[in-house]
């Protein structure tokens, strides 16, 4: 479904319900709690999402099952895409704030040393 045959697919979609696009389980390869939990938090914050959860299938395999169930017939790729974009924006904001504060701290340090 996703990724060509030459490289290993990192994102697969296993559809549980036949016609309902709103209940989908994604398999994310080479991921663990790091992305799983933070993505789950942001997808849960979406109002259209009825259920969101992730699990690690087996600790020896580094892949997670990420399930999204939406209400109102919205396809599940929407909250997933929104969640990923929002996580990206959150990280960008954290990065900008952190770098600004580090520069400020270093500036204050230099000032007090002079």
């Amino acid at each position: 479904m996703a990724g060509d045959c030459e490289k290993k697919p990192v994102l697969e979609m296993m559809q549980a319900d036949g016609g309902d696009e709103g209940c989908v389980t994604y398999v994310l390869h080479n991921e663990d709690h790091t992305l799983g939990n933070s993505l789950r938090y942001l997808v849960m914050k979406d109002v259209d999402v009825e259920f969101c959860g992730y699990s690690i299938t087996h600790p020896s395999e580094s892949k997670i099952n990420f399930r999204i169930q939406t209400r109102g017939g919205i396809p599940a790729t929407e909250p997933l895409r929104t969640g990923l974009t929002q996580l990206n924006h959150v990280c960008q904001h954290v990065l900008n704030t952190f770098q600004a504060r580090v520069d400020e701290f270093k500036g204050n340090q230099d000032q007090s040393m002079e």
Binding site: A2, D32, H89, L95
Partner: protein, 352 residues
Amino acid sequence: MAAPMSIVEEIRTRVILQEFGVKNVHTTDYPGNYPGYDDAWNMADFKKNFRIDIVDMDENTMEFDMVGIDASIANAFRRILLAEVPTMAVEKVFIYNNTSIVQDEILAHRLGLVPIKADPRLFEYRDAGNEGEDDEEGSEIDTIKLQLKVKCSRNPRATKDSADPRELYLNHMVYSKDMKWVPIGNQADVFADINIGPVHGDILLAQLRPGQELDIVMHCVKGIGQDHAKFSPVATASYRLLPEISLLETVEGEKAERLRGCFSRGVMELEDRDGRKFAKVVNSRLDTCSREVLRHEDLKNLVKLARVRDHFIFTVESSGVLPPDVLVTEAIKVLMTKCSRFLNELNTSNME
């Protein structure tokens, strides 16, 4: 003593430490959980409430506060700092001669754990594909070559009846400062002013006696902590939640003294009012939350121990490869890379 917050506010924002357990651990502010609260994700609100305060920073350690973020994202940063920020470390050890008492594999293991001062952002990952053909080669863009060549001999100038090995032998202790960098390709020009080598020169690798020698060539590659702990760039990275100690009643006299002794130094002080001493919480940030006060029957109902759920006090201690603030920025970028990778996958699969 702040005004007590409503029960709902407490469930939403505080983790309560009780005698036999911890309450309200999980994040519950999802849309629909609390009637009357709009908990949908709002980027503007997040930006308004989020702040970072740097408490202390020197060349190897830093302590900073991250306020207004959820535990899942703060934990993601911590996990990435430990396991997914790349560094350079010795991977292949070519032992041409080892007549020391330390076995080959033990010595190779020790060499792998020595932190190498080379900026990993200037190197690329070694492609695991051509491992078979190119075993001894390593191009200049993905490998650092180091050499360790030490031979121990007897000191001709030692006095006849000394027993001190420092006097009797030359080169009998092999330190990490004996690992010399051998530039390959254009590395000599690119890294002309930076001395690539181990971060610390005083790590003892092996001990020799006269006649024993070591002749070793090492290849360093870029890797992440998930693969092997030697690639982890931090000595450790951890966070704790900001403690909050509130007194439920006024406490005076001898009880106040005992109450003060139950917490870490500096958390609680005795205030003098009309000659009587009253207990007052001065700085709950210093507390290590040992919950000692809950062990005393008469003191345990006088205080409430809680932690603020979205206030994280991070401590990042670098192993010397990169300064800690650079490590944190790299960790945040790694998380952004993960998100973009999946977004690309989603977009390309949708277009098919």
